[in-house]
């Protein structure tokens, strides 16, 4: 515990959005404030509005997807309890859960346990604080459950979750439902969802109101905390790759809430399982600093290549030391991507793509001319590689990949072979891509899922618009460079004019003007670089990333195709069986039956795979959207700040010039 509490501070100061902290502060404060009045007048109407006001903005910012994700499990639970017979709903939601736990699979089976371990820790305390309202029966029940026996229960349950359908897995569900039964979570989930889950929310609306209305009044004060915990717990149970983030969110608001110590302690339960590690790490994604520096040319002629220093600074325990540095060449980065995409793309993960190979740019560098364009090329690539690595490690499940760690830590890497643009492997890759494209065209998937249907369309549109915007920004960069060049020429010209001016004061002023223009030229140049690096490159990155997102969609489509093929095959086998039956050939009948069984199994397997990949892709896309919003916001602010800075400089320059102009007599 001690060790973990040591680790606890980082997330707060490190959290890159301090304003979020403030926000949540406010929300929580205001909330506790209103909750008092709520006690006096328990009408739910008066309590909800403030909630909305304070919580929505908070979630709006970046936890939208988060709450949605949460809502998923919540719904699962809800539908189960009141009406276990509502098959449709259960099926819909229980499967993903099932899948999820499968995804967790062997190495992480123990995960749920530590999570649940934490949970009791936090739960009882929160209950203490909530001065248990008796009206909600489940709550009371669960409060009792929070004893040791409960813990044991929980320990027993997880394996079940993995293996069985949701109904038997009652106890853990119960724990969750208790948390979830406060209305506050739900209305939000319904209100602010970004439409994404709206449809789903609709499937299980009936049971909610009853449960919620009863508890809403009673646990008004503490519902906030519950909220937070529910988030935390739900995520954990879900083992979503995003729980780190959620957890953080959960932790942060709770800081302001009265149950601060509870929350923090809960977040760092002493366990050292992979799962926990993962949380910690991504919690501290900001604690894992990767920088790519010192591009250096190695070798001569066409065999020359650029080597980059990859320095990592981290407090994560999964690494052997806190800081380490390796040298990597560009093809190593590409190799890493190859490895990662091979492993993870088929599961529906968005693997951040590395910068493209540029034969032209590299040849220039290789030829070794020290002109500014090749220096710019190298710098541009360096920055792109840095961003690429940062994106990789900020993905919680990619960070877990041994290849990533190897890439960051290991002294020597086996040379990546298949990354050369003109190699046989490259040719094969191209061939694969072509066949993929063809098959993509032939697959006509009738999209069942409205969410995906919309999202695919959105991504397509977004990519187009991004491209357009990128072109615009590129032209801005070019024009600004042009402006800079023209300013320089003008400055020279003015200097000449000043030298031939016979009025001394005016001559002086003109040469001053020339100097000012010179400085402005510098300014424009810097700004052009800023335009490029903070804005244009961001867009280029996201165009690439959107491509990766589309790749995920394609993977999902492929999975669907597999499923459909199997389905068709099964159909055929059945027909064969029917024919055999008709023809009365019992000897072959057995074989046909076996085949049917085999294909039936395959169908279910593929269907499950498809569902799993759908769930992963969905999660990934939500995560991607969130990251994107954050990234854009940060970059845009940075960009505007650079603009601001250059304008301030401009003011300075001109203000310095003003007296000179006035001195002309």
């Amino acid at each position: 515990m001690a060790a973990s509490s040591e680790r606890s501070p980082p997330p707060f100061p490190d959290s890159e959005e301090p304003e979020l902290l403030e926000d949540s502060d406010e929300g929580a404060d205001a909330f506790t404030g209103t909750s008092i009045s709520e006690m006096d007048s328990p009408s739910p109407d008066s309590t909800r509005p403030p909630k909305d006001i304070f919580n929505e903005p908070l979630e709006d910012i970046f936890s939208d997807p988060l709450s949605n994700v949460n809502s998923e499990p919540q719904k699962k639970v809800d539908t189960k309890i009141p009406s276990p017979s509502s098959d449709e709903a259960v099926d819909l939601f229980s499967d993903p859960l099932d899948d999820d736990s499968e995804v967790i699979s062997s190495p992480e089976v123990q995960n749920p346990m530590p999570d649940l371990l934490n949970e009791p820790v936090q739960a009882p305390k929160s209950d203490l604080l909530s001065e248990p309202p008796v009206s909600s029966v489940k709550k009371a029940a669960s409060a009792e459950l929070f004893g040791d026996e409960d813990e044991e229960d929980l320990f027993k349950e997880p394996p079940k979750v993995v293996t069985k359908k949701p109904q038997p897995s009652g106890p853990p569900v119960d724990v969750f439902t208790e948390v979830k039964s406060d209305v506050k979570v739900k209305p939000q989930v319904k209100d602010d969802p970004t439409d994404l889950f709206a449809e789903e929310a609709l499937t299980a609306p009936a049971p909610k109101p009853s449960a919620s209305s009863s508890s809403s009044r009673t646990n008004g004060v503490h519902s906030d905390e519950h909220d937070l915990f529910s988030e935390a717990t739900v995520e954990l149970s879900l083992d979503s790759p995003r729980n780190d983030r959620k957890k953080k969110d959960a932790v942060k608001p709770s800081v302001s809430a009265p149950a601060a110590p509870v929350a923090s302690s809960s977040s760092k339960a002493p366990s050292k399982t992979l799962e926990e590690l993962e949380e910690e790490e991504s919690e501290d994604t900001f604690d894992l600093n990767i920088s790519v520096t010192n591009p250096e040319k190695v070798g001569d002629g066409m065999n020359a290549y650029m080597a980059y220093k990859v320095s990592t600074q981290t407090s994560l325990t999964m690494f052997h030391s806190k800081t380490f540095t390796v040298r990597r060449r560009f093809s190593d980065f590409l190799g890493l991507y190859e490895k990662l995409s091979e492993k993870h793309l088929q599961n529906g993960y968005i693997v951040p793509p590395p910068p493209e190979k540029s034969i032209l740019g590299m040849t220039k560098v290789k030829v070794g001319k020290e002109d500014p364009s090749s220096a710019e090329f190298v710098e541009r690539r360096r920055a792109a590689l840095e961003r690429y690595l940062q994106r990789v490690v900020s993905h919680p499940s990619l960070l877990q990949d041994p290849d990533v760690r190897e890439f960051l830590e290991k002294e020597e890497l086996p040379r990546a072979v298949s990354t050369q643009a003109l190699s046989g492997a490259g040719f094969l890759k191209m061939l694969n891509k072509a066949t993929d494209a063809v098959s993509k065209m032939t697959i006509k998937m009738n999209e069942q899922d409205v969410w995906f249907d919309e999202k695919i369309q959105d991504v397509e549109n977004e990519e187009q618009h991004m491209r357009k915007l990128h072109v615009m920004v590129e032209s801005l960069v070019n024009h600004r460079k042009e402006l800079s060049g023209n300013t320089a020429v003008f400055a020279k010209s003015v200097a000449m004019l000043g030298s031939s001016e016979d009025n001394t004061a005016l001559s002086r002023a003109l040469s001053q003007l020339a100097e000012v223009e010179d400085r402005i030229e510098q300014l424009h140049q810097e700004q052009a670089a800023n335009d490029f690096f903070t804005f244009s490159e961001l867009l280029a990155d996201y165009i690439r990333l959107l491509g990766a997102v589309k790749g995920c969609f394609d993977q999902r489509m492929k999975a669907w195709q597999r499923w459909q093929d199997a389905e068709n095959m099964l159909q055929k086998k059945r027909e064969v069986e029917a024919k055999l039956l008709w023809a009365n050939k019992p000897d072959k009948l057995q074989q046909a039956k076996d085949e049917i069984a085999e294909w039936e199994a395959k169908v279910t397997q593929y269907e499950r795979e498809f569902e799993r990949i759908s769930a992963t892709v969905r999660k990934e896309v939500i995560r991607f959207d969130k990251e994107k919003a954050r990234d854009f916001k940060r970059q845009i602010i940075k960009y505007l700040e650079s603009l601001l800075n250059s304008q301030q400089q401009l003011i300075k320059y001109w203000e310095a010039f003003l007296p000179e102009a006035k001195a002309i007599a």
């Binding site: 304003e19 709006d60 910012i61 970046f62 939208d64 970004t194 439409d195 959105d458 977004e462 618009h465 991004m466 357009k468 915007l469 615009m472 920004v473 032209s475 801005l476 024009h479 600004r480 042009e482 402006l483 023209n486 300013t487 020429v489 003008f490 010209s493 003015v494 000449m496 004019l497 031939s500 001016e501 016979d502 009025n503 004061a505 005016l506 002023a509 003109l510 003007l513 959207d625 994107k628 919003a629 854009f632 916001k633 845009i636 602010i637 505007l640 700040e641 603009l643 601001l644 304008q647 301030q648 401009l650 003011i651 001109w654 010039f657 003003l658 102009a661 006035k662 002309i664 007599a665």
Partner: protein, 371 residues
């Protein structure tokens, strides 16, 4: 004496308001409509008037150039169907801004021309100038026909050839010698500077236009988005939109204050050079007449006439030299004053615009951060 100008319709018509206290005018106030060609006519008549040879004749205003906006207008009309509504609106905005800038500039140069004339003690009393200001009907100046155009071109050729010829004539006055060198040097440099400044402002305008396009593209992205992200994008688009305005104004003010100044003085220096040319011409004439007088004396024929001629030439030359000296000195003073005024104004405008964008950026950064 405040000529004020307004424009109407496509054919640029300047409404010239005159307020005067001069007794030579019949009324203290006039308001007449003039076209660009009328200005040119006025300029040409003044140039052709012999008695103004010793003066720097204010350069005629350049022909109003609405090509840029017109071209854009054309593009706008062409692409109307293919563009989205927003893009169309953006284009229109750009067009309007540019049109306004060009218009402002055109009016200004014409105004300056009249002001120059009216502030000069000699030109003020010019008959044609007064007619120009007073006559309340259309002047219906006869436009130059092709022959005259060609004649003008020919005259220019002769003049430049002549300039080369008489450059061999030895200068008698150090002041003019110096002045000539200075002006030659200065004019080439200012021409250069003008061209560069033009380029600079043009690329500045391009940057502003890019801002506009970026804003449009951002809006497009925002339109498809329905998350919190949308708000950021919209805000950002708004920022760019506003930045465009500021940047655009910065560019056009720079153009108006700096480029126009340089451009005007390029022309003014040309006028001063013309004055020097006329003087040099007179000097050459005088020397020729001297030679003729010598010849006549040798031959003992037509001496009186040659003497008369020589005296006249000398007189003319002296007069030109005297008034030229005065003009050039005042020109210098005027130039310095004009540079000072424009530079100060430009600097102040630059500061103002930069401050505007600073506060704009600061505000939006805060909004984005707190959002």
């Amino acid at each position: 004496d405040i000529p004020d100008a307004l424009c109407e319709r496509d054919k640029v018509k300047f409404t010239v308001h005159t307020k005067t206290t001069l007794s030579s005018f019949q009324k203290p106030e006039y308001s007449v409509q003039r076209q660009h060609e009328d200005f040119i006519w006025l300029h040409d008549t003044i140039v052709e008037t012999e008695e103004y040879a010793g003066l720097i004749i204010p350069p005629a205003p350049p022909k109003p150039d609405f090509e840029g906006p017109r071209e854009k207008m054309h593009k706008l009309g062409e692409g109307e169907s293919s563009m989205t509504k927003e893009e169309y609106a953006k284009m229109k905005q750009e067009l309007e801004a540019e049109y306004l800038a060009v218009f402002k500039k055109t009016v200004q140069v014409h105004e300056v021309f009249l002001q120059r004339l009216s502030s000069h003690p000699m030109f003020r009393k010019d008959r044609n100038f007064q007619i120009f200001l007073e006559y309340d009907q259309d002047l219906t100046v006869r436009r130059k026909n092709a022959k005259e155009m060609f004649g003008g071109f020919f005259k220019n050729m002769v003049k430049s050839a002549d300039e080369v010829l008489i450059s061999g004539v030895k200068e008698v006055d150090e002041f003019f010698e110096q002045e000539k060198n200075f002006l030659l040097d200065y004019s080439s440099k200012i021409k250069d500077a003008t061209a560069k400044a033009e380029k600079m402002t043009r690329s500045h305008k391009n940057v502003a236009d890019d801002y506009n396009h970026i804003s449009g593209a951002l809006n497009n992205i925002a339109a498809d988005n329905n998350t919190a992200f949308k708000k950021h994008l919209e805000k950002c688009a708004e920022v760019f939109e506003k930045l465009r305005k500021v940047e655009d104004r910065m560019a056009s003010d720079q153009e108006l204050k700096l480029t126009e100044l340089l451009r005007y003085y390029t022309r003014d220096i040309q006028a001063a050079k013309d004055l020097l040319y006329r003087r040099a011409r007179a000097l050459a004439d005088y020397e020729n007449s001297n030679k003729a007088l010598d010849k006549a004396r040798l031959k003992g024929k037509d001496v009186a006439q040659a003497e008369e001629n020589q005296k006249q030439c000398l007189q003319k030359f002296d007069k030109l030299s005297e008034s030229g000296k005065k003009e050039l000195t005042s020109f210098k003073a005027r130039r310095v004053v004009a540079f000072r005024k424009n530079l100060i104004e430009m600097t102040e405008l630059e500061i103002k615009h930069a401050k505007n964008s600073v506060s704009l950026l600061q505000g939006s950064i805060e909004v984005l951060k707190s959002n």
